[in-house]
């Protein structure tokens, strides 16, 4: 469903993403892990068509995002890590606007909006301007907007940031059901417990390159990590094990 072929992104001489090739099959929840600045967000933004790759291509359901963007983007729901939305629109107006961007309108959209607002407990806020929403509420609104057109695949950057435990649990359930029904999700996360519990497959990215990919069991086997946790595996692969002891860092 999502295919990255030799994807590369340069910012001047800095290589943010270095020749990444990945395939996320239909019906899979795929996790993208990596330390800060590894190139996860840049990769996701290229998949969403926001950034242009310096080299390589992104295919969504067979359509190149930069050659045939409209067809490719019709299949996609993108959830960014920072919830920037129009402050002077109400929640319901924002969702109606996003539905319009996907060419959808009418009663079915109104029903879908009501349904999503209900699920994310935003109904009582639907006629408030977004400027009055908390960070978490904005995040919920953006997640709703990504689901409004019933996408085939979702690309999501740090989905749990800003969500309360109830909403986080809800999102996990939604993602699982979405994938079980044949949807595809590619998400980046720092929360290794979330990745371990939710992802069918993972890729660990370091310095813009994929250093390990497959199921967690595959990655463990490949890197002879025995029964170690995903956290230990992550630290082993990304060099985080060399970090000074926490006690020392905190100066206690």
């Amino acid at each position: 469903m999502i295919r990255l072929e030799n994807l590369t992104k340069l910012y001047g001489s800095f290589v943010a993403v270095d020749d990444i090739s990945l395939h996320v099959p239909r019906g899979v929840l795929y996790g993208c892990l990596g330390p800060n600045g590894a190139g996860k967000t840049t990769t996701l933004r290229m998949i969403a068509g926001i950034l242009r790759p310096t080299q390589g291509r992104v295919l969504l359901g067979g359509d190149d995002v930069h050659v045939n963007p409209l067809a490719a983007k019709m299949r996609l729901g993108f959830i960014p890590d920072r919830p920037f939305v129009y402050d002077k629109l109400t929640g319901v107006e924002f969702l109606r606007f996003v539905a319009g961007l996907y060419g959808q309108e009418g009663d079915s959209v109104e029903r879908r909006i009501a349904e999503l607002l209900e699920v994310f407990e935003l109904t009582s806020w639907q006629n408030e301007l977004v400027e009055a929403y908390s960070h978490g509420m904005r995040q919920k609104l953006i997640i709703s907007s990504a689901l409004i057109h019933r996408p085939e695949c979702i690309v999501v950057d740090e989905p749990m940031v800003g969500l309360d435990p109830k909403a986080a649990r809800l999102l996990k359930d939604i993602f699982r059901q979405f994938v079980d029904k044949g949807g595809t999700i590619l998400m980046s996360t720092h929360t290794l417990e979330v990745a371990e519990a939710m992802c069918d497959q993972i890729a660990i990215i370091q310095h813009g390159k994929v250093v390990a990919a497959g199921t967690v069991a595959d990655v463990r086997r490949e890197h002879q990590a025995g029964s170690s946790s995903l956290e230990e595996l992550f630290l082993k692969l990304t060099g985080g094990a060399h970090v000074k002891a926490l006690v020392e860092v905190l100066g206690a």
Binding site: K88, T90, L101
Partner: protein, 563 residues
Amino acid sequence: MKQPSLWHVLQPKWRTALQRMREERDRGGRGKLVVLAVVGGLFWLVVFGLLYRILKYLRGVEELGPLIPNKILGLVLLSFISILILSNVITALSSFFLAKDLDLLVSAPVDWLRLYLAKLGETLLHSSWMVALMAVPILAAYGVVYHGGVLFIPYAVLVVAPLLLLPAVFGTGVTLILVNVFPARRTRDLLSIIAIGAAGGVIMLFRIIRPEQLARPEGFRNLLDFVTVLRTPTSPFLPSEWATKAIMGYLRHDFDPLPLILLWTTAAAFVTLGAVLHRGMYAQGFTKAQEGAERFIRGGFWRWTIGGLLKPLPVAKREFVLKDIRLFFRDTTQWSQLILLAVLVVVYVFNIQTLPLHRGEPVGFYYVNLVSFLNLGLAGFVLAAIAARFIFPAVSLEGRQMWLLRSSPLDLRALLWSKYWVGTIPLLILALLLTGITNVLLEVAPFMMIMSLAAMFALTLAISAMALAFGAAYPQFETENAAQIPTSFGGLVFMMATIALLGAVLAALARAVYAYVRGAFEGQAVAIDAGMIFWFAVAAAVCAAATVIPLRLALRKIETFEF
């Protein structure tokens, strides 16, 4: 605990400013710097030249000569203070209560006095730099005419510094009190309406009292009254009067230290009082400023009106247009500018109406047509300024939300289309009304009326396209205040390009209009010949090119945006 220096507290600000300058330089911004320097230099020269000539002339006039320069300087400084108070009140709201660095500063162990002084300095700099630059050619003209010498430069700085500081302290104090009464965002809304309303009122008042009448000899009925008015200080308790006395005393070699002492001691007292006020009220005000300006919106006014009208359009375009209209009318800093626009239109029409063309004597046919023709250029310029304010920022304002537009299947042509027509249709209505009404007032012939309306129609389409394209070419994604976006370098380039367009179109039309006026003056019937058609075609082609090419370039530019 050792407190950080003021310089350190303001570090994020000045480091950001330095970094921006470096980025500009790396992007080949030298050209921009040269253009800005040339335009700024020219402006300075014009102001200096005009004032120099006036002062030079007045020095030679016996009775009134010595009085008028005092009065001019007093009024200039008084208007500076008024502008500064207003701009400081608005700036203080951002720097003391809404700035992004405040969470960090307020949560850090920085003492209240340091925070106050650092933010006062920031407010002063942001709101006063333009006035300070404006003061340079004015004071230079006084210095040169009165032979102030090199020492006049540091002396003028000594006088102007407290004059800038006083409104800054006063403005921040007013803001502090307002924020303690209303939430900060509401205060911002309120202030923008008051500021715009006040500016509009002043313009109207100034225009309606018709100052040009003073230049007529019959205006000076009583010379003695006039001299008495000139001798009276504008406002003896205002710092602008002290500064005037300090400067004129120095220049006339009649130095009196009292005004200077008054200026500096008052400034020191103000800063102290401001600090005391800050200590007592800031914490409460800052807490209140965190309250959102939430508003419960139920009505679907735009959806049922404009949305209904746009029903035949594809849903993406319709929703985009509706979104832009809603955002505009819900943002007080945006819609309140319409007040100023309305004032501008009224003053414009008033000016045309008061032109001494029709005074009972036979109408000056030649002058009427000349004014009507020149009116095209002037109206075009006014429209360009309006387009700079309302259409130029359109692309920049999408900045933070561009992730949504770029990740959705929205055709960027639809985005451009929506932005273009949302800006163009109101501009077109305004342009045609302005031209039509002024032509009716001028009592022009049908030929001029049709030609003006057609030219204005084509020009408006081109001006809108250029505003959108230059706005896309020089985007300001980081600026949250739409009113600041046109004051950028891109805005300046847009205005210069529009003036060039107006020049080209008027030059082409002038040939056709000249042929008509000559024919009509000689009593011949209006004959539209091949020459006329050729020049009309040239003007139309220039407008068409200035519409299509910028829109294409804008589309290409938007396609390359990365976020």
